[in-house]
């Protein structure tokens, strides 16, 4: 009730007073929790539907059939909530149909609106047999079954587009998003992580519903899914690593700051810990082990979406964004509505395959959940969570202490004349060697302390979230010599422009 009261009030404020009054959004931070959670995560959490229906209907992996219905149900509810979230977030929600009429194929957002619309329709059709069964509409049922294969194929294609396009959304901000997350591969990463997240969601929701409805658990199937998860996560993790290293951004991971903590928490929860746990059959076959690992994946990827859409943008935008309580309450209300819808549907429609014997929840616990998990696994789970929490905590803490830079077009750049005192800044980073310069003429080494000594501040160069790395494309080599970068000081007047002062060879 309280959830609905708070949520309802927030909706009221949003539509009467506007977004400024209900959210902490601003021109410098135009997208927040409603985009980051309600839309990005809502879509991602619905990924089980296309993953499993592809497995069952297209690949004929019939054994997963018992799981496919709940996945489709989650997907349908997920998309409904996404649409609701969009209605909250759009400035003119009653124009939500505009993209269908007013085309702009160059816009990722345009693609997304089409995907949402079409895929919601597909999901409804995939979902409709459950209703028709209940209503005993044999004809309609047969009609849907006749088209189910093309429908599923369409659904998979649409999902592929949609999941990846949520990543492409951020391709447009190479100068704003932190290079830890900005990569040309964003669409691929979003798609891969959606599949992993889909599998993890199926595990989590089977577990929850087994407790709620006191039914058995398809533990064989689910642990199989756990195996699949390990494979996908490994590929994903490897790809992320290769991407970071190829962009020369690996070093950023260790640059202190809240981004670093949030990044580590994300990687730990989404990739490292689950792989480390699920790789052991004993954990995989254990209810608690499986459930905890899957939950980690879910939380980890939610964190990933948060980081891509919010954490990574903070440094550039120069404002601290934390969602307002109204934004949180609306998101929370959506989540509650989703759970209620799921419970209602699961109760009245034939979602779970067999009406399995009632297992009392506490019985389940005592008999085979906690006791059966090997101690090292328990310790591992516990420490992974604890470590992630510590990381997030330090991240948030750091964030609180973080002094926003000015708006980038509003920075008083320091052309200070007095030299700095090195002792006032003991943590000055070490010398940095640009990896992309031509080895033949010697690598360019940037000395932080030398620059600091002549009066330069860190923010003189790094105000755009270390974007020298993020924009390091073709042609960048000569750019450093130009007036735009090093050359603006190293011009032979204010500072030496001898090759040897940077290129050591």
């Amino acid at each position: 009730m309280a959830v609905f009261g708070a949520g309802g009030y927030s909706i009221f404020v949003r539509f009467v007073k506007g977004l400024g009054a209900s959210t902490h959004l601003s021109d410098s931070f135009p997208w927040g929790l409603w985009v980051g959670f309600d839309v990005l995560c809502g879509v991602a959490l619905a990924a089980g539907a296309f993953t499993l229906s592809a497995a069952v209907y297209v690949l004929h992996l019939e054994k997963y059939k018992p799981l496919v219905r709940s996945a489709i149900l989650t997907g349908t509810i997920g998309y409904l909530l996404v649409i609701f979230g969009l209605i909250m977030d759009l400035g003119h929600p009653y124009r939500i149909w505009h993209p269908l009429i007013m085309w702009n194929p160059h816009s990722v957002m345009f693609e997304i609106s089409w995907c949402v619309t079409l895929y919601t329709t597909v999901l409804f059709m995939e979902f409709s047999p459950f209703l028709f069964e209940k209503l005993k509409w044999k004809k309609a049922l047969r009609a849907v079954h006749a088209v189910i294969i093309p429908l599923v194929i369409l659904g998979v294609v649409l999902s592929t587009l949609h999941q990846s396009s949520l990543g492409s959304l951020f391709l447009i901000v190479p100068y704003k998003l932190n290079p830890l997350w900005y990569t040309p591969w964003l669409p691929v990463f979003f798609f891969m992580s959606a599949i992993a997240l889909g599998c993890a969601m199926v595990i989590v929701e089977s577990f929850i519903s087994s407790v709620l409805f006191r039914r058995g658990l398809e533990i064989d199937l689910l642990s199989n899914l756990g195996k699949v998860l390990v494979v996908i996560l490994s590929i994903y993790g490897l790809a992320r690593y290769l991407d970071l290293s190829s962009r020369g951004a690996l070093g950023l991971i260790f640059q202190p700051g809240f981004e670093h903590a949030m990044f580590l928490a994300e990687i730990l929860l989404a990739i490292i810990a689950p792989i480390g746990l699920l790789i052991f059959p004993r954990v995989r076959r254990n209810k608690l082990g499986l459930f905890m690992s899957a939950t980690m994946v879910v939380v980890g990827f939610i964190l990933n979406r948060f980081n891509t859409s919010m954490t990574g943008m903070v440094r550039f935008s120069g404002v601290k964004y934390l969602p307002s309580w109204m934004e949180i309450s609306v998101s929370f209300m959506l989540l509650t509505i989703g759970l209620i819808l799921f419970a209602i549907a699961a109760k009245h429609l034939k979602i779970f395959d067999e009406d399995s014997p009632c297992l009392l929840p506490w019985q389940t616990c005592r008999d085979n959940v906690v006791c059966c998990l090997p101690t090292p696994a328990k310790v591992a789970i516990f420490s992974a969570w604890a470590f992630a929490l510590v990381l997030i905590w330090t991240g948030v803490n750091d964030f609180a202490r973080f002094k926003p830079l000015n708006h980038p077009t509003h920075t008083e750049s320091a052309a200070k004349s007095e030299p700095n005192d090195l002792s006032q800044y003991p943590n000055l980073p070490k010398d940095f060697t640009f990896s992309k310069t031509d080895p033949d003429i010697g690598l360019v080494t940037f000395s932080h302390s030398d620059h600091f000594l002549v009066g330069a501040e860190c923010k003189d160069c790094h105000e755009h979230a270390f974007s020298i790395i993020s924009t390091d494309k073709k042609g960048a080599i000569t750019d450093y010599h130009s007036q735009k970068y090093c050359g603006s000081c190293h011009d032979g007047k204010s500072a030496s422009n001898d090759c040897i002062s940077c290129h050591k060879k």
Partner: protein, 264 residues
Amino acid sequence: MEKAKGFLFDITKCKLCGACWIADKERNKLPIPEGDFTKDKLSENAFLEMDRRHDRGVRFSCMHCLIPTCASVCPVAAFEKTSIGAVIYHKDRCIGCRYCVFGCPFNVPKYEWDKPLPYVRKCDFCYSRIIDGKQPACAQACPTGALIFGNRDDLILEAHRRIRENSNYVDHIYGEHEVGGTSLLLISDISMYKLGYPGNLSDGAVPSLTWEVLEKIPNVVLIGGTFLAGLWWLTNRRNEVMQAESGKKDNSSDTESGSEGGGK
């Protein structure tokens, strides 16, 4: 087609008198804040910002990019790049997703956060004045010649001439190539980056980053669809063969779900 227009802003000539600033307010019927006009930052009520940096006057406003990010990202094409160079906004199309605010590399579009049904606001290059054959209000108001209006090509030549003739200038026309070129060109005697303009922009147009992905969609749909259908056929066939070998049992797999549905 008319030639693309542009502005040339010469930082060395600006005396920070504020004439352009007040002209912008009047032309767009914006409220005029009290106090120092250099403190008036870009917002839904300020399409033009004149800031004091390093004792120089620096102009910030929409750059009217040649390949505008804002127009590329908008799902409903609410931003239009007109043939004369102005990037204008059609408010009746906008759905309010704020992707333009998010995407613009110069952080120009501003949003009416305090309205229940908000719109995006920014400089429109005085589009209505230009098609009437007049200059944009701010350029007309400028008494020192720091801001001049004309054909973009001519302005680039003019800027190069000034740079060539006076060695004080930095040899760089900001906006000639940045993000594919902009209609507002700036020249200065110190680096534009020091004056607060983003210094890390490469010459490629930002929209190509997403277009490279988006243009693959038809292929993904066709190849993906065919691939999946093929997979379905293959696995279906394999199952059929296996079933035929093991004899009897149910028929194919997709009638199975039907019979299961009808069962209850």
